[in-house]
Amino acid sequence: MLLWVIYDISDDKIRSKVSKTCLNYGLYRVQKSVFLGDVNSNALDELKIILEDTINLDIDSIYVFPMSKDELNKAGLIGQAFDKELVSDEIVSKFF
């Protein structure tokens, strides 16, 4: 499934940890605090636990949205769009 991770974190160190975790789980950076990528259900579960343990639950917030590829194609993009094919691993799968 495709997964959006969107966060609002005030502390630089924590924010950096969260972004590194997202990248480690194969997500692509769509915007500064927006990540998107293809993950399996166990990775999603694990990622949620790590993020919960990383942030300050009283002041920080992270939205984690699973989405299907069909829904991503229906999504509206205004301005500079990211590479949808790259995010949904379609380009990668053409090579391998």
Binding site: N40, S41, D45, E46, I49, I50, D53
Partner: protein, 209 residues
């Protein structure tokens, strides 16, 4: 492979060179029999210590051990409990460490196992068989009657579930123990029928379907 077996050496007749099946190994075996082949027979480590959920589960176990040391679950009529109990069953060739061994008000004993998981309306076969294994070990170690075991799902709402220990389940376990031994003697088993299990498997690169 689980390394430390020292705590089991106090058991009479325990032979450390003999292979004893642990509840954790049975859990992996029931998830996919190939797991046992790769991990226990071929000795290829799954490096579970690198998985965050495994580490978190271990931390929670340690925390529960300290936090709930004197807490007796009154709802299920517990009158006494032992924590982290090493047990061996010579009859079944199994050994393991139960999170808690409870003494109930009716004189029977029961195991309680903490699971870092959410309860999703179904108790999996893997958990059931683990509980049966603990029950058999309790019965043999403490010479007590065991009619049920408990599982506590730590994630979510700390749901406590009861598992009945009956002859039907024990027979099932016996069958699985035989299959386990067969795999340990070199039999290459079929992979799990549900291919969804393979998606996140650490052996998927070497497992021939």
């Amino acid at each position: 492979m689980k390394s430390s077996q020292n705590s089991f050496n106090n058991f009479e007749g325990f032979n450390e060179n003999e292979y004893y099946i642990t509840p954790s190994e049975m859990l992996e075996f029931l998830y996919c029999k190939r797991y046992t082949y790769f991990m226990n027979y071929l000795g290829i480590s799954q490096h579970e210590e690198k998985r965050y959920k495994v580490l978190k589960g271990r931390t929670i176990h340690e925390k529960k051990e300290l936090e709930n040391a004197n807490y007796l679950r009154k709802k299920i009529n517990v009158v006494d409990k032992k924590i982290n109990v090493s047990m061996v069953s010579k009859n079944y060739g199994i050994k393991g460490i139960a999170d808690e061994v409870l003494t109930l008000s009716n004189g029977t004993m029961a195991s309680l196992d903490y699971k870092f998981a959410e309860y999703n309306d179904i108790i999996y076969k893997t958990y059931k068989m683990q509980t049966i294994m603990y029950s058999l070990m309790i019965a043999e170690t403490f010479n007590a009657e065991v009619t049920q075991g408990y599982i506590l799902y730590c994630r979510g709402k700390n749901v406590l579930k009861e598992i009945e220990v009956n002859i039907k389940e024990i027979n099932k376990l016996n069958k699985y123990l035989e299959e386990f031994k067969k795999v340990m003697s070199g039999h290459y088993p079929k992979s799990a029928s549900n291919k969804l299990k393979c998606i996140d498997c650490c052996y998927k690169n070497i497992c021939v379907k």
